[in-house]
Symmetry: C2
Subunit: 192 residues, 2 copies
């Protein structure tokens, strides 16, 4: 289930990929973190191979969730998309990994609809969270203090709103893991 960090100089982030994920959100997360020198495990809940996103594009999961989650990691980052979020909420392996990751003090980041996975793991109650507007009522009903900022932090929880905020969300997580200077360099090279 992973061990506490720091493990070595290279940080490692788990990104689960489930059918119906939002393509921009997953790809922006992975690409930005990799540009920051972070090792990203893009792990399919149903194993390696192509996974269909919410707008009909398929991205290739590079590994299997079980294998990827067996190795040490420093953070979990959850892309949104309603179908992908439902699949993560229904997958006890993901929910348990999120719970454990949080309990061990490591960052958990969730975008768009994916903060519902935090709620499913029991992490919404009394927490400052944001999400896509379409799921904010659900989060509030589970006790979250819903915010409308583009990126919201509460302790080691980082949440954000949608594809349009995905880049700053990914850069915020990168800054937490490898420092603001490295994140700023990535931002600049991407012409933000």
């Amino acid at each position: 289930m992973g061990v506490p960090y720091p493990r070595d100089m290279t940080k490692r982030v788990l990104v689960p990929l489930a059918e119906g994920f939002e393509e921009m959100e997953a790809v922006i997360l992975v690409d930005v973190l990799r540009r920051a020198g972070i090792d990203v495990a893009l792990a399919g809940l149903e194993g390696p191979g192509p996974v269909l996103g919410s707008r009909g594009s398929a991205v290739v999961a590079e590994g299997d969730w079980d294998e990827a989650a067996r190795e040490p990691y420093d953070a979990i980052a959850l892309p949104g998309g309603l179908g992908g979020t439902r699949a993560m909420c229904d997958d006890e392996r993901v929910v348990e990994a999120v719970r454990w990751n949080h309990a061990s003090g490591r960052p958990t980041a969730a975008l768009c609809a994916a903060p519902l996975v935090l709620a499913r793991a029991g992490l919404a109650e009394g927490r400052a969270l944001t999400s896509h507007p379409s799921v904010r009522d659900d989060l509030a009903a589970q006790g979250a203090a819903v915010r409308t900022d583009r990126v919201v932090r509460d302790g080691v929880l980082v949440t954000s709103q949608g594809p349009g905020t995905a880049m700053e969300f990914a850069l915020a997580l990168a800054a937490d893991l490898v420092g603001q200077e490295a994140a700023d360099e990535v931002s600049s090279a991407m012409c933000r």
Copy 2:
């Protein structure tokens, strides 16, 4: 090689996918255009199947370039990434399609390093273009009037700078094809 538009109510955009493409740029283009109700042909230069991007993620090309380019289309949109751009510049089928598309008055959009493909098609001379900073000298050497705006239009040519400008670039092309109102709705739903 395509026929002039309008063909019917649904617009169709060709997006070539070549090894070394920038993942965020390709996926943002495809996803945003599809959210605007546009039919996007994500066409592999080496046929359908997974294509490796510049940061190690693979996106699945949904069709073959030759077959996709045989059907009528309304615009061509080129994602960047240096490897993918070189492959497009070296592929006479893409260069010729860009030339023909422009000659027939349809939009051609190029992001990041991909404006080099416009230059290869003879469309840079005297044109206002932008690109990733790393290839601006090359564009200038080929006669382009290089600009530093985030999105630049010169007639039916639309160019932009990198992953950080990809969303507004895709929305600009969507607005050209299906109107500003539709593009604004997409933008709002993405939480920009």
